[in-house]
Amino acid sequence: MSGYMESYRGQVLMRECDLLGHMNIQYYGSRISLAMCNMFHVIGLDPDDLKNGKRGLAVVHQDSRYVAELHAGDIIHMQSAVVGSSDKTVTIDHRLYNSVDDGLVFTSRMTSAYMDLESRKAIPLSDAIRQKVAELKIDGENAA
């Protein structure tokens, strides 16, 4: 899909599976967390800023859809794209696939606020991030 890029690639561990015999929902979130680290880099959020506690993106809204089960040992990858933005936020769409057949297993659209990590308040996107987001942004409605 145009505008989407690989943001995560890994596998499902046995300890991530619950009594229903499939990956528990909390671990879908862990994959998004890893994917977001890659998307931070893509949109120009410097890891040093994150590490030094200056700036970060924090999720303020999330819509998720669980499409198919995952089992222990399944190999998976995520594709992500920038689908929206505002003065203080960036919206990223994540799509998790079973890597064996590229079958869609999970989608999540997340809006994150750009934060000053000292004041703990949302602040306007930096010019550099705003420009990068504008370059990467795809039609969010069609990506839904």
């Binding site: 690639r9 890659n38 089992h71 040992g73 399944d74």
Partner: protein
């Protein structure tokens, strides 16, 4: 056909960083294990196939070289491939890169065989897997190939002057779907041993902190002799092979206490570094003054 395969993508989580403020070796291993699962799929060993047959590839040996430390939040990606198929043994590699600067962070070179996960027996490589591996096999001259391990390797037998450096039992949550310990947790034992090694040479955490020192693994070579299963009682014995200049060498024997078998032998090369400059420094004198008669190299 592109024979260098995209096998991993992720990042360094905060809880994967240790007191040295960099990603701990066991989490490099967990990322390499993820990559290995994707490589198996490219050879025709899909997760569903592995689950249904309860057979798949397992590591026989792993050489790991840590090239550059990575810190919390760093995005990573992994590439890998097959270098050779000889007999029933596949030789391959996995490289973990820092996505920010494309710098190589760790190199895994491994041999793997096809095994029955219930009986733990090595099996002939199935024809279709062999064909797939041979099609992917390539010398990969553009992908770093490590020089042979520098120095003697730990023999797969007990040596004198090895001391207990870790002890535990294999928990359910440390195991894969075949009740084998995940590779990450094996490396975790070696990581845990590091503090005991510091004590064994006469150092304490307080001394290390007061000197602003950190320690880092540079090179690992592990051979896997026997499986380690759920609930197994584990003993790790370690010993100083040698210490000279900036480099120390340690040997580990991971023992399955239920069977008494030596499960894993590992040889480690490491160094100390200044926690501020992140540069290597001469070894603490406690290492270089360690009694020579206790060095394992005298028996190797």
């Amino acid at each position: 056909m592109n024979k260098v395969l995209p096998l991993y993508r992720g990042a360094v989580e905060a809880w994967e960083c240790d007191q040295m403020r960099h990603m701990n070796v066991q989490f490099y291993m967990s990322k390499a294990s993820d990559a290995f699962a994707h490589l198996q799929n490219r050879l025709g060993l899909s997760p569903a196939f592995i689950r249904s047959t309860r057979k798949g590839l397992r590591f026989r040996s792993i050489r790991t070289q840590y090239k550059a430390e990575v810190h919390v939040g760093t995005p990573l990606y992994g590439l890998g491939g097959v270098r050779d198929v000889a007999g029933d043994l596949i030789t391959g590699f996995i490289h973990i890169f820092n996505s920010v600067n494309d710098r190589l962070s760790a190199v895994y070179e491994f041999t793997a065989d096809y095994a029955d996960f219930d009986t733990d027996t090595s099996l002939p490589l199935p024809d279709e897997i062999r064909v797939a591996a041979e099609e992917l096999a390539d010398p990969h001259p553009d992908c770093l190939r490590l020089k042979p391990f520098d120095g003697a390797l730990m023999p797969d037998r007990p040596l004198n002057h090895m001391f207990e450096s870790a002890r535990g039992s294999v928990d359910v949550w440390e195991c894969d779907q075949f009740n084998h310990i995940e590779m990450r947790h094996i490396v975790g034992y070696f990581s845990d041993a590091a503090t005991h090694i510091i004590n064994a040479v006469g150092l304490t955490r307080e001394i290390i902190r007061s000197r602003n020192l950190g320690s880092a693994a540079l090179d690992y070579y592990s051979e896997f002799h026997a499986p380690i299963r759920k609930s197994t009682a584990i003993l790790l014995k370690s010993g100083l092979i040698g210490a000279d200049g900036k480099i120390f060498r340690f040997g580990h024997n991971l023992i399955d206490m239920d069977t008494g078998k030596l499960a894993v032998t590992t040889t480690v090369i490491g160094c100390y570094f200044d926690m501020t400059t992140r540069k290597s420094v001469p070894l603490p004198e406690e290492f270089t003054s360690y009694p020579k008669e206790k060095l394992l190299k005298e028996q190797m």
